[in-house]
């Protein structure tokens, strides 16, 4: 019963957030100074008649409440409108670009989480040791490094060792192994960039999370039992400290999204981040609105997953 109420509360909260995302997406691009058609066609030869036609085509000539209603009903059907630059449904364009982003973000997140948590545990366990100072110093520095600049530096430092543009070469043999190797080769620099920036955050989170546990009485008990230091860390301290860290990993999903935009822009990685860049340089308001709704929606869902996962992993949270 209790669990049911909590679950429905979380689901309701997430649903409300999704509605807020949709509303935000609409008003952000409508309640702005200036005519969207004028700014989207800036720099291109257009007549007043063509602009009027575009306005009719995108439904911008209707009253705001009607536009809002149409937008909401289309959104529920999975229709995000038509892209101005691609002249195709926004949902189609976004779906096409989803794969490369999932590959890049997935690979980087797995590596960054593993490496970050491991470094964080080691640093916290030997607090103020040379390793801790070095790891914390490097992490703080990396935290201060703009993602895109790191990408450009890596690109320049490695020279021709790794490809720096796109996801695959056009002249690669069509069989699966060569294609996979080619994509993997292209993936090295972008994922390295993303890992470096995101990993620093996870390391610092894990470190402070474990430091919170360091003086807990149950660790003294474990040591008094005669357990080796290594076992105390692995079996007692880390399992307790890793929970808040894992949740934070999910909560900081937005950070990875932001990192993906600049990384993909630097390396011309053909994913959603590069699409974001294309949409803002257009500017293509409908594409940008669709991207905003999709990414913000994804972040809300990830957040819900984190909360639910936390309840499953940590029995203490169940009664809250």
């Amino acid at each position: 019963m209790r669990l049911g109420v909590r679950l429905w509360g979380r689901l309701g909260g997430a649903a409300l957030s999704l509605v807020m995302v949709a509303v935000l997406g609409f008003f952000l691009f409508r309640v702005v100074p200036g005519d969207p058609v004028v700014s989207m066609t800036r720099g291109r030869p257009t007549t007043a008649a063509m602009q009027a036609e575009l306005r009719t085509q995108f439904g911008l000539d209707r009253p705001l409440h009607e536009q809002f209603w149409n937008y909401l009903t289309s959104l529920l059907r999975g229709d995000l409108g038509t892209s101005f630059t691609f002249r195709r449904p926004v949902s189609e364009v976004i779906l096409e670009r989803l794969g490369p982003t999932l590959l890049l973000v997935g690979t980087s997140t797995v590596i960054a989480v593993g490496l970050g948590l491991w470094l964080g545990v080691r640093a916290a366990w030997r607090r103020d040791s040379a390793f801790d100072r070095a790891a914390t110093g490097v992490s703080l520095t990396l935290w201060a490094v703009p993602t895109f600049w790191l990408g450009m530096l890596l690109m320049m430092a490695t020279g021709d060792l790794f490809p720096s543009r796109g996801m695959r070469d056009t002249d690669t043999a069509p069989d699966f192994v060569s294609q996979a190797l080619d994509v993997g080769h292209h993936l090295v620099l972008p994922s390295l960039t993303l890992v470096a920036v995101v990993c620093a955050e996870y390391m610092l989170v894990m470190r402070s999370s474990l430091l919170e546990e360091m003086h807990a009485p149950y660790l003294t008990t474990a040591r008094a039992k005669g357990l080796r230091d290594d076992l105390v860390r692995r079996r007692h301290a880390v399992p307790n400290a890793v929970l808040p860290a894992i949740t934070l990993v999910f909560l900081r999903f937005g950070l990875v999204v932001a990192g993906a935009i600049t990384t993909e822009t630097v390396f011309s990685w053909p994913g959603l981040g590069l699409l974001f860049y294309d949409a803002l340089t257009g500017p293509d308001y409908f594409l940008l609105q669709g991207l905003l709704v999709v990414t913000a929606g994804a972040v809300v869902v990830m957040n819900l997953l984190a909360e639910l996962l936390y309840g499953v992993l940590d029995p203490r949270v169940k009664v809250v």
Binding site: F29, T147, L280, A296
Partner: protein, 287 residues
């Protein structure tokens, strides 16, 4: 004030700001950066930064004339970096003040006044806390006209939620204390409780938060400028990197155009972070 700098020497040694060497180093770096930001516009002649009036050759590597080389138009990279300090610091500081201001207001209001208003504010805070701030900032600066004000607004309006959460928690903690109950019992109104009890306890935390907020605001500014959303009439570190990317500094191996603005960002952001962490350690002493 001196108490804050070199507070008592208890069991844990000195706990004042001066005891945190990294923080002091950060503060020194910031002083230098601020000095550069103020002096650069006064000393650098306008001709040296005007694309139409520079005479030096483009893409020169560092040498006697231009000790950090020149960019794609022949302007000195060293002068550009010095000139860019002002923009980056200005945007970082104002955006942080805006964000922390909104956060403090929302936090105190939702912590002090319970009920429906607090619930709604908390809901909105959580909503914006979850959303990727950079994505929202990009959307905002795309729809608004390009300019410094837009960047400040885009960063400030999207990075307040964490401050709001923290201030709310602190407000709730303080208001649960007996002395606040006493103040209420003696007839202290909302204004009295907030002004005399809540604010003084919130201010130190807010200052720490503001320092760290400047750091992320500077990174955010450089990212927006890199994506071409900056003020096109101003030189900033992010805008320089935007130009470097646009004009192919990487394929040309023009490291002198790529390194200085990035290093400047990292050094200043790191300095703000270190000062913020030192302040945090002073304000909330560990057991």
């Amino acid at each position: 004030m001196s108490g804050f700098l070199t507070r008592g020497t208890g069991r844990g040694g000195k706990t004042g700001f001066l005891a945190h060497r990294a923080g002091v180093a950060g503060a020194a770096v910031l002083a230098v950066a601020a000095l550069v930001a103020v002096i650069a516009p006064l000393l650098i002649p306008a001709d040296a930064l005007d694309v139409t009036r520079v005479t030096a050759a483009p893409w020169q590597s560092p040498g006697a004339d231009h000790w950090l080389g020149t960019d794609h138009t022949g302007r000195s990279v060293a002068l550009l970096v010095a000139q860019g300090a002002g923009t980056s610091l200005f945007v970082g500081l104002t955006a942080a003040v805006l964000a922390v201001g909104i956060g403090t207001l929302v936090g105190i209001v939702s912590g002090h006044f319970g009920g429906l208003l607090a619930g709604a504010l908390l809901r909105v805070t959580d909503f914006f806390l979850v959303l990727p701030a950079l994505v929202l900032a990009i959307a905002l600066s795309t729809v608004l006209p390009r300019g410094l004000g837009t960047i400040v607004l885009a960063i400030g309006l999207t990075s307040w939620p964490s401050t709001a959460r923290m201030v709310r928690a602190q407000t709730l903690t303080i208001e649960a204390r007996p002395f606040v109950e006493r103040a209420r019992a003696l007839g202290g109104g909302h204004g009295h409780v907030i002004g005399r009890h809540v604010l003084p306890s919130v201010v130190p935390l807010v200052l720490v938060n503001a320092t760290l907020a400047v750091a992320s605001a500077i990174v955010a500014e450089s990212t927006l400028a890199f994506l071409g959303l900056g003020d096109p009439t101003r030189i900033s570190w992010g805008a320089m990197l935007h130009q470097a990317q646009l004009h192919g500094a990487v394929p040309q191996r023009a490291w002198w155009f790529l390194l200085p603005p990035g290093v400047a960002i990292v050094v200043v952001v790191l300095a703000f972070t270190l000062v913020g962490r030192a302040l945090e350690a002073v304000v909330t002493p560990k057991r």
